[in-house]
Symmetry: D3
Subunit: 252 residues, 6 copies
Amino acid sequence: MARTINITIINPITGNIRLSKPQIDRLCRPGVSITEAPVTAGPPSIESRVDGAMAVPGMIATALQAERDGAHALVIGCMSDPGLDALREAVAIPVIGLAQTSMATAATLAHSFAFVTVLNRVVPILRDNASQCGFERHYAGCRALDIPVLEIHSRAPEEVQDRLGRLSLELVEQAGAGAIILGCGALLGCADDIQEYLAARGVLVPVIDPLPTAVAFAVTLVEQGLSHSRISYPQFQMKPYTGYGFVGGMHG
Amino acid sequence: MARTINITIINPITGNIRLSKPQIDRLCRPGVSITEAPVTAGPPSIESRVDGAMAVPGMIATALQAERDGAHALVIGCMSDPGLDALREAVAIPVIGLAQTSMATAATLAHSFAFVTVLNRVVPILRDNASQCGFERHYAGCRALDIPVLEIHSRAPEEVQDRLGRLSLELVEQAGAGAIILGCGALLGCADDIQEYLAARGVLVPVIDPLPTAVAFAVTLVEQGLSHSRISYPQFQMKPYTGYGFVGGMHG
Amino acid sequence: MARTINITIINPITGNIRLSKPQIDRLCRPGVSITEAPVTAGPPSIESRVDGAMAVPGMIATALQAERDGAHALVIGCMSDPGLDALREAVAIPVIGLAQTSMATAATLAHSFAFVTVLNRVVPILRDNASQCGFERHYAGCRALDIPVLEIHSRAPEEVQDRLGRLSLELVEQAGAGAIILGCGALLGCADDIQEYLAARGVLVPVIDPLPTAVAFAVTLVEQGLSHSRISYPQFQMKPYTGYGFVGGMHG
Amino acid sequence: MARTINITIINPITGNIRLSKPQIDRLCRPGVSITEAPVTAGPPSIESRVDGAMAVPGMIATALQAERDGAHALVIGCMSDPGLDALREAVAIPVIGLAQTSMATAATLAHSFAFVTVLNRVVPILRDNASQCGFERHYAGCRALDIPVLEIHSRAPEEVQDRLGRLSLELVEQAGAGAIILGCGALLGCADDIQEYLAARGVLVPVIDPLPTAVAFAVTLVEQGLSHSRISYPQFQMKPYTGYGFVGGMHG
Amino acid sequence: MARTINITIINPITGNIRLSKPQIDRLCRPGVSITEAPVTAGPPSIESRVDGAMAVPGMIATALQAERDGAHALVIGCMSDPGLDALREAVAIPVIGLAQTSMATAATLAHSFAFVTVLNRVVPILRDNASQCGFERHYAGCRALDIPVLEIHSRAPEEVQDRLGRLSLELVEQAGAGAIILGCGALLGCADDIQEYLAARGVLVPVIDPLPTAVAFAVTLVEQGLSHSRISYPQFQMKPYTGYGFVGGMHG
Amino acid sequence: MARTINITIINPITGNIRLSKPQIDRLCRPGVSITEAPVTAGPPSIESRVDGAMAVPGMIATALQAERDGAHALVIGCMSDPGLDALREAVAIPVIGLAQTSMATAATLAHSFAFVTVLNRVVPILRDNASQCGFERHYAGCRALDIPVLEIHSRAPEEVQDRLGRLSLELVEQAGAGAIILGCGALLGCADDIQEYLAARGVLVPVIDPLPTAVAFAVTLVEQGLSHSRISYPQFQMKPYTGYGFVGGMHG
């Protein structure tokens, strides 16, 4: 196990939202190297299923390149898990979805879970993803800050944290949630504060930050020599895809 | 209801497999006009989830254009329903998936259903789609001819029909299927023969041909003034998608 | 397709509520003929499962007669789908239930649905039907006007429409419904107004009128040569049923 | 508890199959009186859903009369539970279904159950009933003797018992059943022999005879002062049902 | 049936809460003998899963002894069904759980059920038990008096009854429960009063008292010669368990 | 993250089967310390639910002591997850079950999974655990070597590996499993060989070794500051448990 484990986080958007050096450092552990791989085609941000669909071709190209470049596992850096099934057909190394992994973790620690997120718009996407991953029984709800993603960073952090805490408390007390999952990448790093907000009110529930949870799961899979099943995700056959100049590298 | 109802079948592949004039004529009814709309980007055929994902951006562009051009409903011309959710966000007119509609029809007529298809490779895709559409309880199995799609037309039609009939009979007698769904567009038009093959052996089950079933459902929705729910599929916001020259029309 | 498709709507009640000529005309399309077939025995109206059960023997007689008379498909004219399974055993032509078809349609267009109906009394009947048809996951609730059926037509239509609109809005906003189904035949024709009421408040959800939806589905099945599965609904054997003078015709 | 508990078994058929005196005696316990109540209208036997539907109006009349006559609970004497929901609306005393009660008992004693029955024809009826009662997860299958009901008594009992034993063994070993339920009233009294047949082969599973199990459950409900919920089964309102001379007594 | 049926209620706690003579008498019927068997090791009361786990070894010893002493069936006297699976492996005679039996009964009489209990603390235990027994679809909720168990008997009985009635009414009207189950042994005997409280307010739902319901079910199983399935609960093999002096009798 | 993470594996049996030094070393990673904690009371091995139940009191004592001694997370070292719920009530640090974690992992990587295990006897235990953890939809079966556990090490390793490989292949090809889970602690370390056996036959599925997977998950939870939900697993209250001398330490 002396080798370094290379985890590539596929950033599916073309906007300039990138993980900072400290954010990446916090994801690392000894023997693990984290790279964020950009897409050369795709949406500026993902706030709809259309945005998600527009991200996948670029992600496939990035995933194929990352595997060629020696990545040991891929993490899809978006809470709607865009392209999860397709990427698993595309590469042999493990491909991890933030939402799927977070929901599996939450369902292991509590009888139910709920999401806090930024935009009301994504509620049906998260709910459907819960249902399609087999967690409809565990899904207790989703509440949104209803602040535009780009505005979040212009708000006072205490205000955002306080609202996240209150939404989470409502989800526990009114919707019966037993765990909370951060439902948007923009909330990266907020889990501890919410967990403390709730604990200060006597509510001891896990608050799951999807990215570090998914990265750790990816490392575990690599260490264990595990990947997704080829029975469930048969290997795809490359074809000449028309109109995707940016994925030319796929054909090489 | 004197107006003509325009149904656009989105052909998600760039290969030269197109509906023939007689095939389109058989789909028509008085007052209904059927158009097959091509994509300008995408895969030559769809045999994997990667292929499906590579089709969706082009399909979104085609869908937006078709809606602007006066289509009253869209039918996605592929049994894996690629982009169904995204297209519903993209347009206000009804978007119909072959698999979803066929499974809903089958589950209405029988306690369970099964697919016959061409390639073994797509079995997990059809099974997962059944599960994600909420039909895991009705799904009884899927068996494949295991003939390359392009070879089908070089085989004697009787041989293909006979093998389809036998697979269907096995699905009824061994897997307990109460209905059969054609699981590949290349089988368009085979349903009646299979139904007769089975009936000749005393097995009276519906054999569903997805494309005409979906077109008829699309017409019904238009006539009834129904479309998908914006609660479930909120309208997307157009954004500048990088790298998709072919969807330039989207921005106009 | 030059032949006329004959759809028979079985009216399961002996009361004098019949479809009007304009109502039938609105259900028709070119090449389709709609007949409403009465029962010679049964309840004056259906407001309970007992009423439903008292309707079925007469409906079986009517269904057998309609099939002999050349009907190509039958639609059961009651939202509790009385006798759906039995009629499918009795005849070979398709038998369509209003509730089953509406729920399948709604579940195809939205992640969940709810009913608006007239009487509180039928709420458990509709809910159980949803569950028994396999839609318990999609069922979001049922709210009733709580006006006696016979009084509806003495109320100002605007008042009824307004209350239907408000109930529907509550079902969307409070119960999370993604689609609305009219849960009583007395509401025939109200779907458009409710859909507009909701749309005027920014809520774009399909409101399904079961009768036209079911008639259109019946036509589709006839056109496609489809009927219910004999694996799921084996053909019944006629027997001498004691005490049913009115079904004497069954024995002929 | 000095009063006698009167249990009425509603025999839904007009044929001359009646419980014998010894059969009734075996169902009795101290303080319990068992009556078999005939219907004055209905089918000669129940082998289809049509037969079941033709039985229910007569059963409603019989049920209402039995309640007026002082019955404390009703048991529906047919494995397809015809009219269970309607009868619960009709009377306030408990109404017990053989299949529902047997399946609830089996699901309490084993992780799954299967039926042995007489006719292949009823397999879909029993399977659907399992599903509609919420036991689809427990249902492991159904196998039939495939002997006409009326012929059973002309066969050597050892032959019938032996075939029942073998079918049950197959259901345990091949279909994974953890319990067996007798799926036809004609098998009344065969449970012990099947249980012994299996035990002699090292297979210790409960074999449930529905009628005595249901009678005992009915007695328990009466003793406990329990009946079905009026929230789930609201009381019906009597109406003038046309064409049912035989239920004239209903109107008195 | 002249023999006496011996039912042993295993009291899993070491505290001095025992059934009174009148309570046991009310459980008896002619030909039935009820014994309450204590454990020699275990918790003073069961208010947590830890308490439940600490009860099971002693219960196994008691169960083995009771079977040797001629018991025909065992009832586990605690609403969390501690050790139900293990005891079924340990003995061949039927082992009945209060919660499992009550939920099966409630699900037979109503479309859903809810619990009223004493401590908020046990809500997740009852909810999880409902889910694990396959009743998650029927579970409508659980509300607690939130009075310490030992204080209950020092409160005015009318006050307790009134609060139980109000909680039950809320569960029906707000949570949609169709039946109520008493969720704590300390409430033994309260079912009739709650049922009357609800009936006086026009709400006719069964209120199930688990202990008498379970005892009656145990008697029924003995009379029918039924027990749990050895396919589902294979017989255990006795081993030398270290540290359980009190179960020395197990080895004899 | 400079601190060492202490993971305690609770060995629930009193037999002398302990993890070897190399086995523990393979579980370790930099910054992680693994301890195996014995119980002072319990069964010599766990092959039944009785054995499991006899293990839990001792495990609770060990868990409380381990938490006091500075453990950061506990792993229950047995594939039937004995005491998982109770231990989560007992301690605040994460408690991980081998089966629950393995099934959550498998369900994330494949559409279904199956177990290979040693004894036929435990098949119902693993199947029920799958069902109770919410994975009944993913459970594809369980096949056993049917060799006594203690004999395994006396057999030629190649023979055991070969049989494990063949059983796994059958589970994939006949039962449709998409992943394999080792269903017995005695198989620790066999996953790689089975995975290679299958890969050599063209079957690429993950084979999950529960212990290292669970240890890695435990480390992840500690790193993320996550534990089980107190909403789902409320903290227990210590009581004077009679007869458990060995858990005297609990009272200190």
